[in-house]
């Protein structure tokens, strides 16, 4: 068994219901209230992406961000990232610890917002699709060999060229921004000076003067101290990002072709059919039940653009972000971010991943993927079935709760989702029989995987509480019988709400099995997994928190102290 780091990123939609009729704070303000509330429950430290994402790390080694699109700053989500784990059970434990921490922070954040004049209730929804069909949600990350031999050499060469190209683009963007905005701010300053000279009599005579002064007042007396962040994010997205995107095209293309070729080939059929086990289920706009929230939004096998409309089975957006970070760091004469770009082992990121509430489904989602990835790297799946059209096959499978539909495979023939899953299950069984050193947890994965596939074939109703799409469909068909479309959609969404959602009812009644206990989860809220870089990160976070030191934490290192007495601690060696 290889020592492989795995992790999960989960985006939570924010619901806010005002207590009285009235407005609501923006999601950025709700995130800040939750961030401060989390800081009251556990030790925290600011992350290197403190602005504008307001990233912070918690003492178990995990992190939170405010995830938003630059043109919708106030409509963002909370993203939680688990610390680096080494198996599906541990990952499930730290995912649940993240949720437990947020549930404890909610009343504290509500109280703080009420003090600021926003009384209301906060709900955090662990799903991937809202009532209007906007998609977000979970991503899985597995450490894997990115390429070898000539492929690795070519990928590194393109990365080096892209860094040079990126440096040129960054310089050009800076000059462009200065040329564009310096006159703007000078002009605004001049206008502000003129406006301040206008007296009440002249304002009373002129309506355009009143309008200009009101506009200036809005700019200067911002209620939200982060309004300027919002402005610069928009500038970055509309003006700088298009240039940067052009610079990233060669690396994006090379990554699509050269990165993780064996794993992508071997895992494609597994991932497309995995929705029958780990799909969360949803009720899309047409009203026909689908097995997976992400599945209905996927448009390609690999991602073309780092934009929300370009959903894919394999995601490369973190690879592109790593290159951009390395590029910006190089401009500051720092080289540590280069390691992640040129490393042989990198992050295989899965975009086709639903946010699970059932612990069995979440355990199987990562447990089976980890096992299949290990087999792929060992060359045991070189003859795995290849889908003729993976995206079309995915659409077919997610729209078929009866699990009877077949999808075309290369070389002729059709296979159902169950056929595909059984193929991988049998290979996993054989792999474990042949392996000399097997992690016991792999056997547990295979046992539960086998039970779930048998139950799906026999009677999916047995899996209420174990598989999310089955549980949600059951509630829609029983609780939702004869109800309005809005009520059905509420079942679809409220199933996922942390702490008070409909899934919690299944858990409280003992219908949804508990795989990680309450005491374990409570420990994992403040204790890191071990061994690994999360342990050292956790130690640093506690130290700086106790001693009140200035610090910036990242996944790979910590910078402690002020500008002139800064010391750096690397987590990479752990």
């Amino acid at each position: 068994m290889k020592f492989r780091r795995i992790g999960q990123e989960t985006e939570y939609a924010i619901r806010f219901t005002p207590l009285e009729d009235g407005g609501r704070p923006g999601n950025a303000a709700i995130y800040r209230a939750l961030r401060d509330a989390v800081g009251e429950v556990v030790h925290t430290a600011p992350g290197s992406r403190a602005e504008p994402n307001q990233q912070f790390f918690t003492e178990n080694g995990g992190a939170f961000y405010y995830e938003f699109l630059p043109h919708a700053y106030q409509g963002g989500l909370i993203e939680g990232a688990t610390p680096e784990c080494h198996g599906p059970g541990e990952l499930l434990l730290y995912q649940r610890a993240q949720e437990s921490l947020l549930i404890r922070a909610i009343p504290l954040a509500e109280s703080s917002l009420a003090d600021d004049g926003w009384p209301g209730s906060i709900g955090l929804i662990k799903n991937c699709r809202d009532a209007e069909g906007h998609t977000y949600g979970a991503q899985e990350n597995y450490e894997a060999e990115v390429a070898s031999g000539v492929g690795l050499f070519a990928l590194r060469a393109v990365a080096a060229l892209s860094l040079v190209l990126g440096a040129a683009v960054t310089l050009f963007s800076l000059v462009f921004a200065i040329v564009l905005f310096l006159p703007f701010f000078v002009l605004m300053g001049l206008v502000a000076g003129v406006v301040s000279e206008w007296d009440e009599a002249s304002l009373a005579r002129s309506s355009w003067r009143r309008r200009v002064r009101a506009g200036m007042k809005r700019w200067i007396d911002q209620d939200d101290p982060h309004a300027l962040d919002e402005f610069f994010c928009l500038v970055d997205y509309r003006l700088i990002f298009p240039f940067m995107f052009v610079a990233l095209i060669p690396y994006n293309l090379a990554f699509r072709v050269l990165a993780f070729p064996r794993q992508r080939r071997s895992m494609e059929g597994f991932l497309v059919s995995r929705v029958i086990v780990s799909g969360a289920g949803c009720l899309p706009e047409g009203g026909t039940f689908a097995l997976s929230e992400k599945g209905v939004a996927v448009r390609s096998v690999s991602r073309w653009l780092p934009t929300p409309s370009s959903r894919s089975i394999f995601d490369n957006s973190n690879a592109l972000k790593s290159l951009m970070t390395a590029n910006l760091n190089l401009m500051l004469l720092r080289t540590e971010a280069l390691r992640s770009v040129f490393s042989r082992r990198q992050r295989l990121q899965l975009g086709l991943s639903d946010s699970n509430r059932c612990q069995v489904a979440e355990f199987l989602k990562t447990g089976t993927a980890l096992l299949v990835l290990e087999m792929a790297e060992a060359g045991k799946l070189d003859d795995a079935p290849r889908l003729l059209d993976p995206v079309k096959a995915l659409r077919t499978l997610v729209s078929d709760p009866a699990l009877k539909a077949g999808v075309e495979v290369k070389g002729g023939g059709r296979m159902s989702g169950l056929d595909l899953q059984r193929f991988y299950l049998e290979r996993a069984r054989r792999y474990l029989e042949e392996s000399s050193s097997v992690v016991e947890e792999h056997r547990e994965v295979v046992r539960i995987w086998s039970e779930v596939l048998e139950a799906l074939e026999r009677d999916p109703g047995e899996l209420v509480g174990r598989v999310d799409w089955v549980s949600k469909r059951y509630l829609l068909e029983t609780s939702g019988r004869g109800l309005s479309q809005d009520s059905l959609k509420k079942i679809d969404i409220a199933y996922h709400e942390l702490g008070s959602g409909y899934f919690e009812l299944l858990e409280r009644e003992g219908i949804a099995p508990i795989m990680v206990g309450f005491e374990e989860i409570e420990r994992a809220v403040s204790e890191p997994p071990s061994p690994g870089s999360a342990r050292l990160r956790s130690q640093v976070i506690r130290e700086v928190s106790f001693e009140g030191q200035r610090a910036k934490i990242s996944w790979s290192s910590a910078e402690i102290g002020g500008f002139f007495r800064r010391r750096r601690i690397s987590f990479d060696g752990e």
């Binding site: 977000y136 949600g137 039970e451 047995e462 209420v464 374990e520």
Partner: protein
Amino acid sequence: MESVKRESIEAEREAMDRGEAPVREDGLTRVTDAVRRDAQVNAGGYLADSIVPEGGE
């Protein structure tokens, strides 16, 4: 995981065959009743309060 409680589907089926599964049946009825009641309360408002203007990632 220390206190792993991995209930086997097979064990549950055997218990049902022995007539030992009323807890699950009663529990499911309580859940479906509670969900049905709540789903009809201010459903439109709940959906509006939980909209995400654009996706993340």
